[in-house]
């Protein structure tokens, strides 16, 4: 009897154990539903102990959360689903500052100064639109060069004002630039080679004087690029930052600027290790008729900090993310197989608007690879269609659909190249026989019968290198290696840690490596031409900019110097076509696939009316935040 009792007790014990387990899992169903504006304790009581055990203690350990708790008194402690646009794939790791002068900002979501700058918080003078290659007014209304292209004049939008209500003036623009130069921020260091000075002619007129070389501007393209690249900051606020840091350059550049005064439609709301949230500034100047005429639709912009792509993708599928800037393999399966309300720029392959070209560079200083025939033979033998099908899961045009040229895939850039005249220089996909013939003709053959061709008595043996874990790139390099085998060149793959790879690439210590060309911008296709050819880049001790294989061609270099000063479209077309010819004949590098500037897939379960190829409103798929792509925020609608 006793025995049975004991067994029963034990059984009960285990029963409770499993029940607790199940109950535990069950209770987690609630948080996903969320947003219950339920009974809220006043935030002032934040010091009070919470009823929950350990978890309560942890919360208070995070400094960022204390601020959040204070602010939460105005809100319900959540960012309601139907007032918030959730992002993924933009911000990795915790935000560390809001300072556009900081060289170490890890705040991609809040501030990214590039050709298509992210203007959620800080704003640039103009916005670049990759749809038509034009600049659209933001803080600036219009701009014009003088006849000699030495001075660029910008008219400011008189409606623009800062978040503290003060007007945005020409003085602010001038002072921002002067501060960049004074404290040698990377912006200041970079642009001072091309810009002599920025001065305020009057409150609404800015004059940007280009640096001159022999009476001509060094590079007018770079000066124009300033307009859409660099944020404008308020003079009064900058003075405050300078003062509190005693004008010490390091301290000024590292000031976190948490108390920022900016002009954009959103302001920082809260951030911690798990997320960052911006809140709409309902006094935003852009609701003036001269700008957008209204406020952006979402009240909050939020980005959960996911640990990897997989986590972000799961969140997109579960509807916790609206706009996802991540590469998703076989993205079409999300709506075809899983029936989710997810869409991309195009309904069909390549799904995204391609703008850049991940390319492979040959080390032109390496015996064997210094021979154009070897480089071209490798390029000819590669199965690009397999790269596009496997590594990109079809999310790129093939090179038959969009023949190679130096300008890349964007239509506005391709207008600068006479594609038809390049026809004879293109090679067909995986042309193994042609490649072999080319090598035989050049006298690079296999003399010792080991199956590998020799150049000057040495076997042609190379390593194709890219960072480990970049799976699509790794796959591409494998396909390149296979191509080498087909034509009697020994190519093995080598995938080191990213940082080792960076060392190799930037110091030309590789045989074959891979990197991506710059996307579309006000300087394209010039920026791509520089990326593939610039001798100046090649001469850098640590070269992050392009021409990693140190290909030296004086003809190309001469053209590169002439392009920025040329305004005649026909002449420009001639230049870019000539560069494309050199590129295809000499093959110092070769594009392996096309790729979008930003990956873009949206879940339309909460928000809808996102830009798409067929929406016809000229808004580019730059994830609703970048360049002219931010216009999308004003067009969004709730799904129900």
């Amino acid at each position: 009897m006793k025995e049975i009792m004991k067994k029963v007790t034990a059984l009960l014990c285990v029963g409770t154990m499993s029940a607790v387990m199940l109950a535990g899992c069950g209770s987690s169903a609630q948080p996903a539903a969320t947003a219950e504006p339920a009974a809220e304790e006043p935030a002032a009581e934040e010091a009070a102990e919470e009823p929950a055990e350990e978890e309560a203690a942890e919360e208070e350990a995070e400094p960022a959360e204390e601020e959040a708790a204070e602010e939460a008194s105005t809100d319900e402690g959540s960012t309601p689903r139907n007032e918030t646009l959730y992002f993924a794939g933009q911000q990795w790791g915790t935000i560390n500052d809001w300072n556009p002068m900081s060289p170490n900002s890890n705040n991609a979501m809040g501030q990214t100064q590039k050709d298509t700058a992210r203007t959620l918080i800080w704003e640039t003078l103009f916005m670049y639109n990759s749809m038509d290659g034009k600049l659209y007014g933001l803080l600036g209304k219009e701009y014009s060069w003088n006849d000699d292209m030495t001075v660029l004049t910008v008219k400011m939008n008189p409606d623009a004002h800062w978040s503290d209500g003060e007007p945005v003036t020409a003085d602010d623009v001038a002072y921002t630039y002067d501060t960049h130069v004074k404290y040698e921020s990377s912006t200041g260091a970079d642009y001072s080679t091309y810009i002599d000075s920025i001065t305020a002619k009057d409150a609404e007129t800015v004059e940007i004087a280009a640096k001159l070389d022999g009476g001509k501007a060094v590079n007018p393209l770079k000066v124009t690029a300033y307009l859409c690249n660099i944020y404008v900051m308020p003079k009064a606020y900058l003075e405050k930052v300078e003062e509190r840091n005693g004008e010490d350059p390091d301290k000024v550049k590292q000031d976190t600027m948490e108390d920022l005064v900016a002009s954009g439609p959103y302001l920082p709301y809260m951030n911690n290790d798990q997320k960052v949230v911006f809140i709409r500034d309902d006094n935003y100047w852009g609701q003036a008729a001269s700008m957008w005429g209204k406020l952006p639709v979402p009240k909050y912009i939020a980005h959960t900090i996911y640990k990897d792509n997989a986590a972000g993708q799961v969140a997109l599928q579960q509807g916790e993310v609206d706009v996802c800037q991540q590469f998703i393999t076989d993205v079409q399966k999300l709506w075809l197989d899983e029936d989710l309300p997810i869409s991309t720029w195009y309904d069909e392959a390549p799904y995204g608007m391609t703008a850049t070209m991940p390319s492979m560079f040959f080390n032109c200083e390496k015996p064997g690879l210094d021979q154009a025939a070897v480089r071209k033979a490798i390029a000819m033998a590669v199965d690009y269609e397999q790269i596009i099908a496997s590594a990109m899961s079809g999310q790129s045009q093939t090179f038959d659909e969009l023949p190679r040229c130096i300008a890349g895939p964007a239509e506005s850039d391709r207008a600068y190249v006479d594609i038809d005249s390049l026809k004879d220089l293109q090679w067909k996909n995986k042309d193994v026989e042609g490649a072999k013939a080319l090598l035989d003709e050049a006298g690079i053959t296999d003399e010792d019968g080991d199956g590998i061709r020799e150049y000057k008595g040495e076997n042609l043996s190379f390593k194709a290198e890219c960072p480990t874990g970049w799976t699509d790139w790794n796959a591409s390099m494998e396909i390149v290696a296979a191509a080498g085998k087909d034509i009697g060149i020994d190519i093995s793959t080598y995938f080191p840690e990213a940082n080792s790879f960076y060392d190799d690439m930037t110091t030309c210590n590789f045989d074959i490596c891979m990197w991506s060309a710059p996307g579309a911008g006000p300087m394209s296709p010039y920026s791509k031409a520089m990326f593939y050819f610039s001798e100046e880049y090649a001469k850098l001790a640590s070269n992050w900019s392009g021409n990693f294989g140190h290909y030296m061609n004086d003809d190309a270099e001469k053209i590169l110097q002439q392009i920025p000063l040329e305004t005649d479209e026909a002449k420009l077309k001639e230049y870019y076509t000539e560069l494309s010819k050199i590129w295809l004949e000499e093959v110092p590098s070769v594009a392996l696939m096309y790729r979008p500037e930003q990956f873009y897939s949206v879940n339309e379960s909460v928000w809808t009316n996102y830009p798409a190829a067929d929406s016809g409103n000229n808004i580019p798929p730059l994830v609703c935040t970048d360049g002219y792509g931010i216009a999308a925020l004003y067009e969004l609608e709730l799904a129900e």
């Binding site: 899992c25 609630q30 969320t34 350990e54 978890e55 170490n104 986590a311 790879f501 640590s542 900019s545």
Partner: protein, 334 residues
């Protein structure tokens, strides 16, 4: 008391020695990784720049700032000096955020997750082991083997399975984070509920794999003790069964306490990985970011914190052991 002094003295000495080696390895090992971490930071800083001298200037600036151009022993003593002052330096990957700030925001999540999980797993495991030994039947034939099977699934595997089943397929548990994606930390029931909800999967993924290993040990020890002479003798004497069982399990527990210390030690290997799968904001995820970003200061600090936590946990258990097990004292007095 004399015996204890010797016992404790010896333990402390060995732990101190371990700590010294751990500190040195913590510093040296990450720095032996190939590649230059400053490259990555500099890459971010010079992105989009086109002027060559300006780019070079920025890069030199960083090398200087992080002192990685100095010989390693100099770096070590500088680092050690700062650590003793509680200053772990500045993170490379989240520069200029101080490492201590990052650790401080992560470590509590980890402690709150791991300690309860390991202790609950240990308790459940011991209960199961004891029941399996004493009652046998279905416990010994089905439940224990099942948990034994489960315990051999690596932590990340378990985490992935739970994530797939409960979050992606059934949709009853959140997939990632420490609280709801749409919440802002605040003092409210909604928030606390969300935190508890997000706690479940990481918690159970650790508990489930801890149970089996503990149970099997407890079962063997219990069976051994149940057949010991003193048990038979007690039975002859007619001592109540419940009383005997009390003796048995007290004795069988002893090696299990070592087991607890060991499982605290393996925290890093297994359980921290579970955090990564669930994007849980603890040390595991911080450690991963530090590794991928070659963030030496953060990496050293993370591993140092973990080492110290494990050493302290082990030390406490060993010291307790001296009190619990009279044989230890007896040994020392010989």
């Amino acid at each position: 008391m004399k015996g204890y002094k010797k016992y404790y003295g010896q333990k402390l000495f060995w732990y101190l020695l371990t700590l010294i080696f751990a500190v040195i390895l913590n510093f040296v090992l990450p720095r032996l990784m190939p590649g230059d971490p400053v490259s990555a930071i500099a890459a971010r800083a010079v992105g989009g720049m086109t002027d060559s001298t300006a780019i070079q200037k920025v890069i030199n600036d960083y090398v200087e700032k992080f002192g990685i151009n100095k010989p390693m022993y100099q770096q070590f003593f500088m680092w050690l000096g700062n650590v003793l002052k509680g200053d772990f330096g500045v993170s490379f990957s989240q520069y200029p955020r101080p490492v201590s700030d990052i650790i401080n925001s992560a470590v509590w999540w980890t402690v709150a997750l791991q300690l309860p999980a390991i202790i609950v797993g240990w308790l459940l495991g011991n209960i199961l082991g004891a029941i399996a030994a004493y009652i046998r039947g279905v416990f010994d034939k089905a439940i224990l083997p099942f948990f034994l099977f489960v315990s051999n699934i690596p932590a990340f595997g378990m985490a992935t399975i739970l994530l797939f089943v409960f979050s992606i397929k059934l949709g009853i548990a959140p997939a990632s984070g420490g609280y709801g994606y749409d919440l802002i930390p605040n003092v409210s029931w909604t928030f606390v509920k969300s935190v508890i909800g997000h706690y479940q999967l990481p918690f159970w993924s650790i508990v489930l794999i801890t149970i089996g290993g503990q149970a099997i040990g407890m079962r063997s020890m219990s069976i051994y003790e149940l057949n010991a002479d003193y048990v038979k003798y007690s039975r002859f004497l007619g001592i109540k069964d419940s009383k005997i069982v009390g003796y048995v399990f007290r004795n069988a527990m002893l090696p299990q306490i070592t087991g607890l210390a060991l499982s605290l030690g393996t925290m890093i290997g297994g359980a921290l990985v579970a955090e990564i799968i669930f994007s849980y904001p603890g040390l595991g995820t911080t450690l991963l970011t530090a590794v991928t970003g070659q963030d030496y200061p953060l990496l050293s600090a993370c591993t140092l914190i973990i080492t110290i936590m494990v050493l302290i946990a082990n030390l406490v258990v060993e010291l307790l052991y001296g009190v619990i097990d009279p044989r230890v004292k007896a040994n020392q007095q010989d």
